[in-house]
Assembly symmetry: C2
Homo-oligomer: 150 residues x 2
């Protein structure tokens, strides 16, 4: 099996985000890989699709990856910088690395995570940045609900 | 409708934890109430039951509560002090108050949450404390998996 590079891993998460966008959902996608490059699970924000605000791109990918004794040998990929909720997931489960597509439209807990020693690779993907920027402008109601802001 | 006091709210979460224990799962329960005392949702850790490590007592209760524009007018109850993952949920969504049953067997992000100004009421429930202490001793493998520790 070919080992994916970080950009290819991000593409898996971005594909999920684009599916979410088509579904009328919040277009954030995530994926979990073993450090050997094996895809363990991919997911997307499903606030709209399942009426479930606990499913962000990261947590849905974590759910899809199923059970593991620990996550220290895995990489979590997300199209958008993790909010504080997903930053909590990251800090609790200590993924080996976090790969982020967009940290322009939201920063969440990324600064705090770096201060705690979490390895975050920010790919600054224009496609991810444009996707969320368009969504935030088109659906501010849904964006605010997703992050619990009034 | 009778307005529940904090101990009664904790009983709702504890009932969930006891169901989880019967199911062979991690015995942590949660509940979300409106500040007016209305129960919005209750849940329990379902790592074992659904093979889903993203469902802690708190996040399962949050899922059960469905969609809301924001959570600033709600109370989150948990039988066990929130781990960092659930502390992230709390910090992101800014529940009005957090009610905790047991902070003896785990502390998670409670100290940090208090430093951020989150209102945490610790009821120091002996029933909650005993439940988790027994579980941690009986199933250290499952406890460690639940919090992602080796």
């Amino acid at each position: 099996m070919a080992i994916l590079n970080p950009s290819e891993m991000l593409s898996v998460a971005l594909e999920q985000a684009l599916i979410g966008n088509e579904e009328g959902g919040v277009p954030v996608g995530g994926a979990v890989f073993h450090v050997d490059g094996t895809l363990l699970g991919a997911g997307r924000n499903r606030l709209v699709q399942e009426g479930n605000g606990s499913l962000h791109g990261e947590t849905d990918a974590f759910r899809a990856a199923g059970r593991r004794p620990h996550w220290h040998d895995t990489i979590l990929v997300t199209t958008l910088a993790p909010c504080w909720y997903c930053s909590g997931l990251i800090y609790q489960f200590r993924f080996r690395q976090i790969i982020v597509g967009d940290s322009v439209n939201a920063q969440g807990g990324t600064k705090w995570l770096r201060e705690q020693g979490i390895d975050i690779l920010d790919l600054h993907s224009q496609e991810c940045i444009d996707l969320i920027a368009e969504f935030q402008q088109r659906r501010p109601d849904l964006w605010n609900e997703c992050i619990g802001e009034v």
